[in-house]
Amino acid sequence: MMLLVQSIIAITIRAGTSLVYATIGEIYTERTGVLNLGLEGMMLMGAVTAFAVAYHTGSLVLSLLVAMSMGLVLSAIHAFLCITMRANQVVSGLSITLFGTGMASFLGQRLGPAENSFYLVGLTSVRFNRIAVPFLSDIPILGALFNQDIMTYGMYILIPLAWFYMFKTKHGLNLRSVGESPHTADAMGISVTKTRYLFTIVGGMFVSLGGAHLSLSYTPGWTENITGGRGWIVIALVIFSMWNPARAIYGALLFGGINAIQFRLQIAGAAIPAPVLNMFPYLATIAVLVLVTWLESKGKKRLGAPAALAVSYMREDK
């Protein structure tokens, strides 16, 4: 029994790692008032390039850098369209997904070696291996947390850091004000444009890092649609965590945990059909959204989405 719980925790954390990276990235983007629905495309691009670089160079560090630069380029396009050109953020995000999905699939059939007729599918490369932390990994049950790969350990540090930066530093204060009230931020001498560009791009880099974790650790290798809709799940997770990086872990645990439990149930041959289980997080997200909106309408504290989410800003617009 204990072993079962331990393995569920281990799988949950592993499945959740890519989600946490991407969720934190998107939280930062949305907190400045930019909605980026291009996550699926950015994660796929991160995954395919990370794997290709790892395969050809054997350098994991380089893989991560290249994956991040993909997130940088795609989110910079989104930022340019939405911030400078004031395009519709929903359409722009969907275009990024469309383009990223297509491009990742294209690259997946072009970046491979000639002997595999340029395909990346079916190859293996260096990957992130699990490193057991001495002593800690021997603790019963919780030991599962300390037998993970280095990106997961990075996640343990990232979550409190991202929370601290957003809520305790002056830059966090400034970026939140840009998402809540760009007019105020502007009048207070904060550059709305710069802040939004910066965090849309930084957010995008974390998102594609999440994609890289998939192809370098969780399901090593490249397959078409390796993300399996994780880019969209992240949108739900951002809501679920109410735009707070510290809470990103709950949602990731929920989705990751359902993956793990499902895996276990399948082995045990249980009767709960997988789709019913999989639906639960989405329905839970809707429930959270309804609850938050209802609480806000009661005049209690404002909790939900940044007030200026998906609203473009122009100073002299009257």
Partner: protein
């Protein structure tokens, strides 16, 4: 020593704006405006709505960029490209719409965007400093409270606190009293005086003449984007300022037939309503308007006027009480029910509520008729009839537009108001509600609007006129009721109205009390 200081100060203004011109598409907001502010003084910037006061100040604090002209701060040319630059020069502005982040605390708002803020700000330290300033200036605010928990008056205190905290020594206040109770505005004048004593200077934007004397040493009058005059406050009179502001004597009388009221059209009985925060905004309010008469509602903005008109027109709900229109109980009915019972409404925000800017002038003109023939037959539009109806209204109301199909947003404010008037008056069957109908219009358009209202009364409609312009109320209305904190303080016939008595009622005195106070003031020579 102090005298020489003053002399030097006279030579170098802290702020000097030279030949500022600012265009917006279709409008010149400022044309070659020059402004000087000397250390230790309050300069009042007076002008009607739309005279260019706010846009001139937005140029000064870097929110807008001037098309021509230059700005000197303490004698040196200043390039103010963004509010950041302005903050560094010690310029601070309290905007009409407060620049506060509602989901953040007072302390967070106060330090927001500060350049020298620590990477990890210590909020206990910040709160301590805020409390010190609070005590020093008697500005009571809890630094740990969230902005959304505060009332308007408190929010303004936060704005002022923010300026002091940031070390601004040139303060710009954009119509700060508009949202304040008389007590709060008295408090404000005390705070400003204290800051001036400390050597700060201030520009005070207003369109209310009585505030000029209370707050300022000098006054600059703007009219249609240009400087009309710069005067010393002590050497001018309200009537001179008023004349400069509008370009002619305001004390005009409109020809008006004697009022002969008929049956009651609108009866408001014991109406109570509350705002979003659950605080009462209308309290046991009652009045009657009869056919063929105009009831004016006077009051400082924010005393329940908006709630009143919105409850009557079905846009908002009453908690208790009754709205009876032409004998029928219409309390808390839908806007459509009220429109169909013959109520027309000229709303206070003409662009955000009165028109659909992205639709054509013709469409906007038929936005009440489209529910009936001949414009719509069995649900289908007859565009010939639309064009015909629109043309009639464009001609009758003298609306100047390139064509019927021009999007309404491209028209001037006056012409947009004429579209609303044409549509609303065309559909009026008994009751016309007009909220601030002439606000921000030029004198010609203003007079046209007022004449239309009187016309409606003459043909037997009942008119409810809400205005903050006492002059307008006295010339147009037959009776004037004063609203204060959601209550009617008293009612006077327009021809016997005394501005002083109304003024006291606007500040919360009952009719009797106001008359007494006015009489005492008469003796004590302007005792406000």
């Amino acid at each position: 020593m102090e005298d020489t200081m003053a002399l030097q100060n006279d030579l170098t203004p802290v702020v000097e704006m030279k030949g500022i011109t600012k265009h917006f598409p279709g409008v010149t907001a400022n044309n070659q405006v020059t402004l000087k502010l000397y250390p230790g003084e309050v300069l009042a910037l007076l002008g009607e709505n739309g005279a260019g006061k706010s846009s001139l100040m937005n140029v000064l604090v870097g929110l807008y960029r001037q098309d021509e002209g230059e700005i000197l701060v303490r004698g040196t040319p200043a390039e103010i490209h963004s509010p950041k630059d302005a903050v560094q020069l010690g310029l601070g502005m309290v905007h009409q719409n407060f620049k506060l982040v509602e989901t953040m605390t007072v302390a967070e708002n106060v330090v927001l965007g500060l350049k020298h803020l620590d990477f990890i700000p210590s909020f206990s330290e910040i709160c301590r400093r805020i409390n010190t300033i609070s005590r020093q200036y008697n500005l009571q605010v809890d630094p740990r409270a969230y902005i959304w928990q505060l009332g308007v008056g408190e929010q303004q205190r936060v704005e002022i606190l923010k300026l002091i905290y940031r070390g601004a020594d040139i303060l710009i206040l954009d119509e700060p009293t508009a949202v304040l109770t008389p007590q709060e505005s008295g408090e404000l004048s005390r705070i400003i005086a204290q800051m001036i004593d400390e050597g700060k200077s201030a520009i005070f934007i207003t369109h209310k003449m009585e505030e000029i004397k209370r707050f300022s040493q000098r006054v600059q009058v703007l009219r249609k984007g240009e400087t009309a005059a710069v005067l010393e406050t002590s050497k001018t009179t309200p009537s001179e300022l008023a004349r400069l502001m509008v370009g002619r004597e305001v004390l005009f009388r409109l020809e008006k037939k004697i009022c002969c009221p008929g049956e009651p059209v609108l009866e408001v009985k014991n109406l109570c309503a509350s705002n979003e925060a659950g605080r009462p905004s209308l309290q046991d309010l009652s009045f009657i308007i009869r056919a063929g008469e105009i009831l004016g509602i006077a009051g400082v903005a924010g005393n329940g006027q908006r709630k009143l008109t919105e409850v009557i027109t079905g846009l908002d709900r009453a908690d208790s009480g009754k709205v009876v229109i032409q004998g029928k109980d219409m309390t808390n009915r839908t806007p459509l029910d009220l429109i169909q019972s013959g109520v027309s409404h000229i709303p206070p925000d003409r662009i955000s509520m009165g028109i659909v800017g992205d639709m054509s002038v013709a469409s906007n003109l038929v936005m009440k008729e489209y529910r009936s023939e001949p414009v719509v037959k069995r649900g289908i539009f007859n565009y010939k009839e639309v064009a015909k109806s629109a043309k009639e209204k464009i001609d009758a109301y003298n609306i100047s537009t390139p064509s019927q199909n021009t999007e309404a947003k491209f028209l001037s404010g006056g012409n947009i108001q004429k579209i609303i008037l044409a549509r609303e008056i065309g559909a009026c069957r008994g009751l016309l509600i007009a909220s601030y109908p002439s606000r921000g219009l030029d004198v010609g358009a203003m007079e046209a609007v007022r004449l239309q209202l009187i016309d409606q009364r003459n043909i037997g409609n009942a008119v409810l006129l809400v205005s903050e312009d006492l002059e307008e109320l006295i010339t147009v209305a037959d009776r004037i009721a004063v609203i204060y904190e959601g209550r009617i303080m008293g009612e006077v016939p327009a021809e016997k109205a005394d501005i002083k008595i109304i003024g006291h009622m606007m500040a919360g005195a009952s009719l009797k009390g106001a008359a007494q106070a006015a009489a005492e003031a008469e003796l004590g020579e302007d005792g406000i």
